[in-house]
């Protein structure tokens, strides 16, 4: 589905992503783990078009999508959420959902008066869809709440909801569980699994919570220092020596070498 080939992203002298290559298979929920500063979010940003890679190639279903802007990728079905949830704070949850997808005919000012019927039709379709999404995510009681008043976890659910307003093919979730309580995290996990099973969404999840990764993700990819270290099931990753080294440091080993 998505193939990343030898992507580098340098910020000045700092190599945030340093020759990462990986493949994400269609229909999987792939976990992306690694210590802080491993380059996970930077790689996300490169794939999602927020950052242009210094070198390397990203393809989606065989098509080269390297460096395409986010709204183009959006229309191709590649969506992402943010580490810190983004929302339209002054609008209600329902309105937030209905803003997706952009580019409706109602956004042209003349259409407001000249194409009332077409706009009403579009809005009705969007509204039906929004209701369906709200129900799916079990947040229909929050439909008329201002999005700015939601808790961190509810905002994450709303972000997931936004991806459901269009027929997404692949969704990148950046630390969807950060700062979210257990109960809500389970709801989010359920929604991800359901979307994956029922609608065939492919997910890529950056997460530090290993229970969450273990429950949802197969395969798991581990990054460190801008490179892909290992790929496999969570058990395999946990047993991988390089991975342990990346997380715990090489201190132990070095001490053995100098004989201390």
């Amino acid at each position: 589905m998505i193939v990343v080939e030898d992507v580098h992203k340098h910020f000045g002298g700092f190599h945030a992503v340093d020759g990462a290559s990986l493949a994400i298979r269609e229909g999987t929920i792939t976990g992306l783990i690694g210590p802080n500063g491993a380059g996970k979010t930077t790689l996300f940003n490169v794939i999602a078009g927020v950052l242009k890679p210094t070198s390397g190639r990203v393809t989606m279903a065989g098509e080269d999508i390297t460096g395409l802007p986010p709204h183009t990728l959006f229309h191709k079905g590649l969506l992402r959420t943010f580490q810190i949830a983004h929302e339209f704070a002054s609008m209600t949850v329902r309105e937030n959902l209905m803003m997706v997808p952009g580019g409706q005919s109602g956004e042209r000012i003349w259409n407001t008066w000249l194409a009332r019927r077409r706009i009403a039709e579009e809005e009705r379709v969007l509204q039906d869809k929004a209701e369906e999404v709200l129900e799916f995510l079990t947040i229909d009681h929050l439909a008329d709440e201002r999005a700015g008043n939601l808790s961190g976890g509810q905002k994450k659910l709303l972000e997931l909801g936004r991806t459901m307003m269009v027929d997404a093919r692949i969704v990148f979730l950046d630390e969807v569980g950060a700062g979210v309580n257990r109960t809500l995290l389970n709801t989010i996990g359920d929604a991800i699994q359901k979307l994956n099973a029922e609608r065939g969404y492919t997910f890529v999840v950056i997460e530090h919570d290993m229970d969450f990764i273990g429950r949802l993700c197969d395969p798991v990819i581990c990054m460190a220092e801008g490179k892909v270290l290992a790929e496999g099931s969570l058990e395999e990753i946990k047993a991988n020596e390089q991975v342990i080294e990346a997380y715990l440091g090489t201190g132990l080993k070095n001490r053995e070498m100098v004989g201390a």
Partner: protein, 336 residues
């Protein structure tokens, strides 16, 4: 003691003028607040934008008057208003294409855009003086009063008169219509919602596929209309002089900031707060107090807290107080 006369005097000298002035400030502040919310900078050229729109309206008004076109008892300027709005919008969009778009593409910091807008202010200021001259222009025609003080006295038999100028009536009615239309637009139409979405979270709006250039264009369109309407109403009520409009920048900004920059509701509230403070503090209360207090307490002085020369100081002081104690404004605005 004569409370009824006191009330009439209060209405005549404080309430009615302050409501009209407040409506004008509110319309001006709405423009400032929209630019701040959506384009993310404080537009110092707004006072001169109002001047340009008003100037264009005056020129068309004069042309209409010379051809003998009138609007009955209403001022001809109302007929000319759409043309003034058109001219103002064209100027704003031209300025955006020539100046602001360049800085937007650079993702310039808000403070740079503020400085740029000061440059634009000087150019617009010069343009207006060049075309119509720096002097005072009166362009109000039609019936001057809805109710004159003498009619009011004859009708009610009171000592005090209550005059209601046509321009004051028009100001309030127009302001109500414009504000209602604006809020309907922002809250009910898809175009308005996409503007609010862009104002709330630019990144997310882009990711959702909202076209930023279109949002910017529509913003200038609305701002041009608001600025022209505000300027023409102020000019009809008082008179038109380019320098006065430049000075209006302070109370207009004070209104927007007091209400909370970026918050349209706040801009309206702010406009009335500033207008009422300005008028009540610079009004000589002798007459009203003379009617409402027992004879023994009647004041001998004017009881004017501040000379009208210092009226701009009032908005400045309110601005300082609000910024000290509630930096985001009375209604929560946004900060960029």
């Amino acid at each position: 003691m004569d409370l009824l006369n006191a009330l009439v005097a209060l209405s005549n000298f404080v309430l009615v003028p302050a409501i009209a002035y407040g409506a004008q400030l509110a319309l001006g502040a709405l423009g400032v607040t929209l630019i701040y919310g959506i384009l993310r900078f404080s537009n110092f050229a707004h006072g001169d934008t109002m001047a340009f729109g008003t100037m264009a309206t005056i020129l068309v008004t004069w042309w209409f008057q010379s051809m003998g076109i009138g609007f009955g008892p209403l001022p001809t300027a109302l007929l000319a208003l759409p043309f003034g709005i058109l001219a103002c919008v064209l100027l704003l969009i031209g300025t955006d294409r020539a100046v602001y778009r360049f800085y937007r593409a650079q993702k310039a910091k808000p403070v740079i855009l503020v400085i740029v807008s000061i440059g634009v202010m000087f150019i617009m200021n010069g343009l207006v003086r060049f075309i119509i001259g720096p002097g005072d222009q009166r362009f109000a025609d039609g019936e001057r009063f809805i109710v004159t003080a003498r009619d009011f006295q004859a009708m009610t038999g009171l000592d005090e008169g209550l005059a209601l100028k046509t321009t004051q009536g028009i100001t309030v009615v127009t302001a109500v219509i414009v504000v209602a239309a604006l809020f309907w637009f922002l809250n009910r139409t898809r175009t308005g919602k996409s503007m609010r979405a862009y104002s709330d979270n630019e990144d997310l709006a882009l990711l959702s596929g909202i076209d930023p250039e279109r949002v910017v264009l529509i913003t200038w369109l609305i701002v041009g209309a608001l600025a022209t309407v505000a300027g023409v109403l102020y000019g009809l009520d008082k008179s038109f002089k380019p320098f006065t409009y430049f000075q209006l920048l302070l109370p207009v900004f004070a209104s927007a900031i007091v209400g909370g920059l970026g918050n349209p509701l706040g801009a309206i509230a702010g406009g009335f707060i500033i207008a009422f403070s300005e008028v009540t503090i610079t009004y000589a209360w002798k007459k009203v107090l003379g009617y409402s207090l027992p004879e023994s307490l009647e004041p001998s002085g004017l009881v004017q807290l501040l000379s009208t020369d210092y009226k701009f100081a009032v908005s400045f002081v309110i601005l300082l107080i609000v910024l000290l104690f509630r930096p985001t404004g009375l209604f929560r605005g946004k900060s960029v």
